[in-house]
């Protein structure tokens, strides 16, 4: 069992921030856990994203609203969504 101290959490957050290719992932995480934050985002998305440190490229990407493009931009491999096995017997 790993016991987390506050310093562990902070160091994990710092490590996370350092390792990310963009501020976009960080913003998506914040928006995913806080529905209240989505309101100002929806009201003036470009301003909101600029304040969050997103690049012009990222702002255009998000404004396009295409999840496939966002997924491709963030990179990494993600398997297709079929994890159930069909019993053919």
């Amino acid at each position: 069992m790993r016991i987390f101290l506050d310093t562990d959490i902070i160091s994990l957050m710092e490590a996370s921030a350092m390792s990310q290719p963009s501020a976009l992932a960080e913003l998506l995480v914040k928006l995913s856990v806080d529905p209240e934050l989505r309101r100002p985002f929806k009201e003036s998305p470009r301003e909101f994203m600029a304040e969050a440190g997103l690049s012009d490229e990222e702002i255009d990407l998000v404004s396009g609203g295409n999840p496939d493009e966002i997924r491709d931009y963030l990179g990494g491999d993600a398997p297709a969504g079929c994890f159930a096995l069909i019993d053919e017997n």
């Binding site: 995913s32 398997p79 297709a80």
Partner: protein, 259 residues
């Protein structure tokens, strides 16, 4: 009981937004965190939650039989458990819904004398009920894996709602990188559904959103229109009831209901 344990959790569909507190605590407390998620922001977030977070995505490659991939996942989890580690495995969605490896890993871990359990998560069907604003209690709801529905000629009641999962992978047991694994299968599905519904009966092709900035993909169509929609391996089909089921008046009276 042997040392080493397995906890299986779900991450839902919205990066960190649908992760339950018990799932998060389990992920953080584990010696090893394995995960299988469907988009990169969730991966990035999970890697920030545990220094030894390890993706299982590399078990999949083009053309590989999915049984082999799922078995490899089970083996990887159990290998860590056998080393005496407290292992957490996180799957996107609900970890016990349409995830062969999670159930099999728990079964085998217990058979080998280890502690193993699963915590519920938010499934695609849960998101569907919320996003389509439909209540499975209204007319009942039948849920089948798409291929299973076809090859076993499942008997169902069209007076209840019908949910078919994995309609983008009908009859396919290998893994592929493309979005839709079997377009021809959709035509066969429509042909089967047409025995129970008129061609113009409504249907919805649904995909939960992974991003809080994007809407879920909700394509409202008809039974006949299904093959013309964008269907992927993430798509779920929702077919509303054809009509209200007739009442069994005698049964209602037997239950003391005044109708």
């Amino acid at each position: 009981m042997n040392q080493g344990s397995l906890v299986v959790v779900g991450t839902g569909f919205l990066i960190a937004g649908q992760v339950t507190p018990e799932a998060l605590a389990s992920m953080r407390a584990a010696d090893r965190l394995f995960f299988l998620v469907a988009e990169p922001a969730t991966r990035i977030w999970l890697e920030s939650q545990h220094p030894l977070a390890e993706s299982l995505h590399d078990v999949f490659w083009e053309g590989r039989p999915r049984q082999a991939a799922y078995d490899e996942i089970v083996e990887r989890l159990l290998a860590a458990v056998r080393q005496g580690q407290e292992v957490c495995a996180a799957f996107y969605g609900h970890p016990g819904v349409f995830v062969y490896s999670s159930h099999e890993a728990i079964r085998r871990a217990r058979a080998e004398g280890f502690t193993a359990c699963m915590f519920p998560g938010v499934s695609a069907e849960d998101c569907l009920f919320a996003d389509l604003e439909v209540d499975p209690a209204a007319d009942g709801c039948q849920s089948f894996e798409g291929t299973d529905f076809l090859i076993r000629a499942r008997i169902f009641d069209p007076h209840s709602a019908l949910v078919l999962w994995q309609i983008g992978a009908l009859g396919v047991n290998t893994y592929h990188l493309r979005d839709l694994w079997n377009a021809e299968g959709l035509a066969i599905l429509v042909e089967t559904l047409r025995r129970h519904y008129p061609a113009e009966h409504p249907a919805v092709i649904y995909e939960a959103t992974h991003y809080p900035i994007c809407d879920p993909l909700i394509q409202r169509t008809t039974i006949a229109g299904i093959p013309g929609c964008r269907v992927t391996t993430h798509s779920t089909l929702w077919v509303p009831p054809i009509a209200k089921a007739p009442l069994d008046i005698a049964m209602a009276r037997q239950l003391g209901l005044s109708l």
